[in-house]
Amino acid sequence: MPIKSLLRTLRLVSGLILMLFVVGHLANLAIGLKSLEAMQAWLAHLMAPWQTPVGKFLLVGSMLLHVALGLYSIAARHSLAMSRTDVVQLVLGLCTPPLLLAHVIVMSMGSKLATAFEPSYGQILSVYWSFAPMLAFQQLFAVIFVWVHGAIGLYSWLVLKPVWRRIGGAVVPLLFGVPILALLGFAEAGKEVLDKLANDAAWRTDITAMVELLNPVRAELDAIQARILTVYGGLLLLAVAIFAGRRLYNRLTPVRVAYDEGLSATGVRGQSILDVSRLNGIPHADVCSARGRCGTCRVHVVAGMDHLSPLNDIERATLARVGADAGDRLACQARVLASGVSVVRVLPAFVETSAAHDSGAWMADSAGDAASGPAA
């Protein structure tokens, strides 16, 4: 049962669905650059697919799945050795649910509890810009956090694909353009809302009345939010506790790994070879940040193959794809179970994504460079 690759696919698919939703939503916000009415008009088109039962199911399902997988990945960790990008992605991802919760609850539950409540951009923006600016801060951070988290995931997935050479030039501007335009639209629409609130008395009474509608159910909404937050916090604590417990338990059995060039490093039982390299500052190629996709971290195991964790499905597939020799392992997947492992890094530490596309050609190309490069 290829459980690891299944989980990876699920995380990717759920993330992509969420990203699609976020893009639509942010595009809607960006229309605020034109006017508040245009924003409201486009809302129906951009958000309509998500209002259908299938859309709702996909969205909610992806959301729950993605959060659950994120928490699981924390619980399954063996060390905190991560690239800076990964740290950013993890922290932003963990912060997102609490930040978004208020907005999601009001949008989905509000009209159910207060039947007359009909959310519109005018109201929501009035709340943000005038009635409760604290919520606006929360939302702004949520937008950035979600987007950066998603963009990192999308980029690190796509950049390893051969297709990136063709679409990269189009995707990167989007990665920056969408959130910036959305924020600008938010600011422009906010100006318009403030202006209307000040000058359009009828509109103001409308909005105020609509906002008042929520007041009776506020307590209920807050209770729901508190409950969800408690559950989330509990799960997060549990995941961290599992990680910490394993880390502390494994601490009792330190393991030693020997590298080429006479280097050696110490880690604890259960950490991958790449974790040990990172924790000890040993240069080691890892283009995909330990996701087991690129195959650049692979090592040739000189001794102690039976002290490493057995091949998993991700590793087997990647090794086959890059055409690795027998006795090669992926440093990011092979976990060290006991001392006495001795490895040789196959690729130099400075490889980039091109090595992931076709590592054989890369090594042949740079054989001369690599030999003379670092020495020069």
Binding site: P133, A136, F137, F176, I180, F186, G190, F350, V351, P374
Partner: protein, 681 residues
Amino acid sequence: MKRVLCELGELRGLWRAALALVALCAPFPAHALSAESGMQGMAMTALESAKSGLAERIQDLRMASSEVGRISEALAAAVLGGEGVRALTYLLILILVGCGAEWLYWTYASAPLRVIKATRAVSRRHAARLALRRMVLLGAGLLLFAVATIATSAAFTWPAGVHAAVVAATFAVVVVRLAWMAVDLIIVPGPAHRAPQRLVPLLQGQVHWAAACVLGVALALAIGGFVPALIEPIAGARHVAGALRVLAASLTAALLVSTLLLLSRRSNRGEKGDSGARRRLPQFPRAIVVVLLVVAVYGLWLLGAETAAAIAAIVSIVIALQLVSRVLVFYFWEAEIAADAEAAEARTGAEVIDPSLAPSIVLSVARFIIVLLGLGACALVLNAPMSDMAKSPHVLVRLGFELLGVAALALFAHVAWIVIRTTIDHRLERIGPINAGDPHGEPSPNARLLTLLPLLRTTAAVSILVMMVLSSLWALGIEITPLLAGAGVIGLALGFGAQALVRDIIAGIFYLAEDVFRVGEYIESGTTTKGTVERITLRTVALRHHNGPLHFVPYGALGTVRNNSRDWVIDKFNLPLPIDADSEKIRKMIKKIGIAMLDDPEVGHMLREPLKGKLYRIDPGVKIFRCKFETAPGNQFDVRAQAFKRIEAELKAMGVKFADGVQTVVVERPPLLMDAGTAQA
């Protein structure tokens, strides 16, 4: 000469400006000179101002807490509203743009950076070059971030006061990141296998402390520098700003003191562990001096004398850098200096004459630049208009500048002299004495350098000295035009008078430049002057005749030179043999001798072409064989003697005699008488 002086003249303006700064920084105000009588009064005034400065600081600290409450209320009121939301929106866009630009840069630059990081430094200077390359990469990213952020910030209409805060915050971030970059490049905190990349002589146990100290100080200074400047005008909270400054300064001082004490303790311990045998004489602990300096600067600042504190800090930093600069610079040439010392010890058993050229120059220049930077920093602190300085009405101040200018010139001259002397000395040392003990041996190809280099060294010394003196006079404001003109006139007169001398010198330069002869070569000039070149001076060459007398020949009279010591010599001699000698046999015999001579331990190595002979002429009663061989110059006599010896022995063995001088006259007789004639003979 004149051109050089002109260039120095251009520099002079620069010097004046630099010196002007010093004068401002020097605690040399005019009234202090005139008010000598008020020594006590001055001390009282200083004490008064110190007292009030301290009181102000204490007041700041005391009032700060109430002000913080007021500010935070005002801030909350300002932030919770449309303005606050707008500001945050723009700020987030700014962060996206700045970080995004840098991220995009790193998608290209991270691979080269990893290449540099993975490169193993083979020497300290290689490590420095690598660090430089890393600095360019990292610095470009930082610059991109700063420029993108600040430029984008101009595109928005910010709520009042926020724009300044955003720009200041960006600067603060840049300062802290610069400090981090410096730490990463110079101190290189990390595991022991990164030690070869370290650019300062720190022990492995010290690097993390040093890195933390630098970062902490940068953070404290960034906060103390940028935040109060924002709070004061916007929120009008003078006391909070003052309190923040005090906190930042205290934190900086505490960090510096603790780190200095820690580092000195560790390095002492390290030394003892490394070489317990080599004990040094007791010294006053330097760390305490440095700590006292830090405390003094901090105290000055606390007492309100901010400018004085800044200048004291700069001066102490300059002095500290001067003290450690030798260690810091020589650290990069450690391997070479150790090798040099070892080689010199092996060769002569004495110390090296000089450290290598490069570190000496770098050291001089570095010291000079440190002083200049210190002066510049002082000028910045004092906010002094540089252009007015040199025109100070005070004679002593001006003289001070000018003397400093002379010092700078002397430094220049010193650097130039080090460059020339060390280069020449090292070169000479490497060439070594030529033909020690054997004046007739083949001179080495560097013999000419051996004659030229000392000449060059003396010339350079004289010209540097002359130029230095002239420029110093000029810098001191003494007119040197008459001096130069006088020198010109005298030069003209001397030139006419000493035509022959000049001709000799110039001819000599050309003889040397064209490599006509070198010390140790045997030359002939004209018919009578011949001998081995023993000495080459500015005007004459000394030739030792093979009979002993020493000829001193001025170059002008040397004329055509016949150099007998170049490349090779062909020697030919005749061998008269009786007419009945078998010429083919003789030829073969000579050839055999030639081949045998190649293996001779005495002359074999001198031969370039072996001895050969052939029948050259037939005279009545005599066959003349001509023999020839080729040797290195000066060896032909030995080789010829050896050849004669061998030929004679061989001929004796063959039973062939040399042709005797008696001519045999054969008289043609009629055939009848022939029998009788032969019987009689």
